[in-house]
């Protein structure tokens, strides 16, 4: 199972208290993870990526295994540790403002 961590406000919106566990078929990509996340929690549609274009919202970042994956191609495989469920795929609200 893939583990996805959400920022506080999206955990509240999705009514979850910890990491979200998702079944994602190979190859595990950012797009596949987000598709599975939005299917399991439809209220998150539009809050992480644009509903129509599927582009990441400007102040959302993706991290895993200590790396910023935000600018990686959405159809590129995520690190194997994420695909194997050893490391979480982290969705983070970017630092903004002062």
């Amino acid at each position: 199972m893939i583990r996805v961590t959400l920022p506080t406000h999206l955990r509240t919106l999705a009514q979850v208290s910890g990491p979200v566990l998702l079944q994602v078929d190979e190859p595990v990509t950012q797009r596949a993870i987000l598709d599975a996340l939005e299917a399991a929690h439809p209220m998150l549609r539009g809050t992480i990526r644009d509903k129509a274009s599927k582009e990441r919202r400007p102040f959302i970042r993706f991290f895993a295994c200590g790396e910023d994956l935000s600018h990686e191609p959405t159809d590129a495989p995520v690190p194997s540790e994420v695909a194997e469920g050893k490391e979480p795929f982290r969705i983070i609200g970017a630092m903004a403002g002062g």
Binding site: H9, L13, M43, G46, T47, R57, I60
Partner: protein, 371 residues
């Protein structure tokens, strides 16, 4: 005894204030949706337990919440606000054309007869409608055909912030848009036209009497006189007695005719309220005194209402959706401030008290009277 429920939207969540019809003792619930901007919460007149809330965030975008039990529980419903067809362009700050881009929902206006029917006014300015309780939204694109290519955002964004459903004609709707003006449809939203004749924006527009481009801050009407409209413009308080065909200024003896909200007394169609603000450069009350002004003559002659309001060192603002009236026999007036206070007067504005002092900056105030 009736219950009074005040729905408050703030920069950091929503709050529900409850009292009985005496409006002396209050309970405060919240924050709901903590940390999110709540631009507006509105209740259906057809079902007082049906509430809609506009929840938004610079990080996570727009969410629409719906409650079917008076705010005890909420459900996130549809948040796809797609402009009809090719979005087109409007005028940008530098005079070039700029694509229409959805940013947030400013105002929700439920139908008076159908709890599942609700309108949404959005930024960049457009009007949407849902007929299924907020699950899906459809734009009424005829509005942007009313010279939308000439609309230009002001400092607060190009937002559709006021929606008035005419009480005597289900096909007539008035809307107001910052830095575009007031508009009216008489065919249920298919076609629209600007209703800005008589407005003058001498320091804001190259053509002071232009057909569109006026920064209308709020409009209001009384249900018994659906053709009489009152307007707080950027500068100037205005009045029309022919459904917006022609406006005339009624600022009269106000200390400043700049401000944001305007409201009409529930039982007295010629009694109106504004909260003067010093200027567009100084968004706080003149002389640091928080004064609501009341006219019992439909404008021109105004009296300051000060009892219970701070009369020194007060530098808050009152935003366009943050003034409301209730429907009780002794009409209650409510407003929220950028300093987080919500004030109530249970006697048409003669005496005021703060219900709460320290909420986040208040964006909107609505009030319900429940049996």
């Amino acid at each position: 005894m009736s219950e009074v429920r005040v729905l408050v939207g703030t920069r950091k969540g929503a709050f529900v204030l409850r009292s009985d019809e005496g409006r002396k003792d209050w309970t405060v619930e919240g924050p709901l949706f903590p940390g999110w901007e709540i631009y507006h919460i509105a209740a259906s007149p057809a079902d007082p337990d049906r509430l809609y809330a506009s929840q938004s965030s610079g990080w996570f975008g727009q969410v629409i919440q719906r409650s079917d039990d008076g705010g005890k529980t909420w459900e996130a419903v549809g948040n796809e606000f797609a402009y009809d067809g090719t979005p087109g362009t409007h005028q940008w700050y530098d005079g070039t054309q700029h694509p229409w881009e959805f940013k947030r929902v400013w105002h929700l206006e439920p139908s008076p007869t159908d709890p599942d029917s609700v309108y949404a006014g959005v930024e960049d300015a457009a009007l949407f409608h849902s007929g299924d309780g907020g699950r899906t939204w459809r734009e009424l694109p005829g509005l942007r055909s009313a010279k939308g290519n000439l609309w230009q955002p002001g400092a607060g964004g190009m937002c559709l912030h006021t929606i008035l459903l005419s009480p005597d004609d289900p096909k007539r709707i008035f809307v107001a848009i910052s830095a575009a003006g007031a508009f009216r449809t008489d065919d249920g939203g298919v076609t629209w036209r600007p209703i800005n004749q008589g407005l003058r924006s001498d320091f804001e527009l190259p053509d002071a009497a232009a057909e569109v481009g006026h920064c209308v801050h709020s409009i209001a009407l009384h249900p018994s006189r659906p053709k009489t409209l009152f307007m707080q413009k950027h500068w100037d308080v205005m009045r029309s007695d022919n459904a917006g065909e022609l406006w005339r200024e009624v600022s009269g003896n106000l200390p400043s005719d700049f401000g944001f909200p305007i409201a009409v007394h529930v039982h007295e169609p010629e009694t109106i309220y504004v909260v003067p603000i010093t200027s567009d450069s100084y968004h706080y009350p003149p002389d640091g005194k928080l004064r609501v002004y009341r006219s019992r003559t439909g404008g021109n002659e105004w009296e300051a209402l000060t009892d219970g309001l701070p009369q020194s060192h007060c530098y808050v603002n009152i935003l366009r959706n943050a003034l409301a009236v209730d429907t009780l026999g002794s009409c209650g007036i409510y407003f929220g401030t950028s300093g987080g206070q919500v004030y109530v007067s249970a006697d048409s504005g003669d005496h005021w008290k703060a219900i709460v002092h320290d909420l986040p900056p208040v964006l909107s105030v609505e009030v319900q009277v429940l049996p």
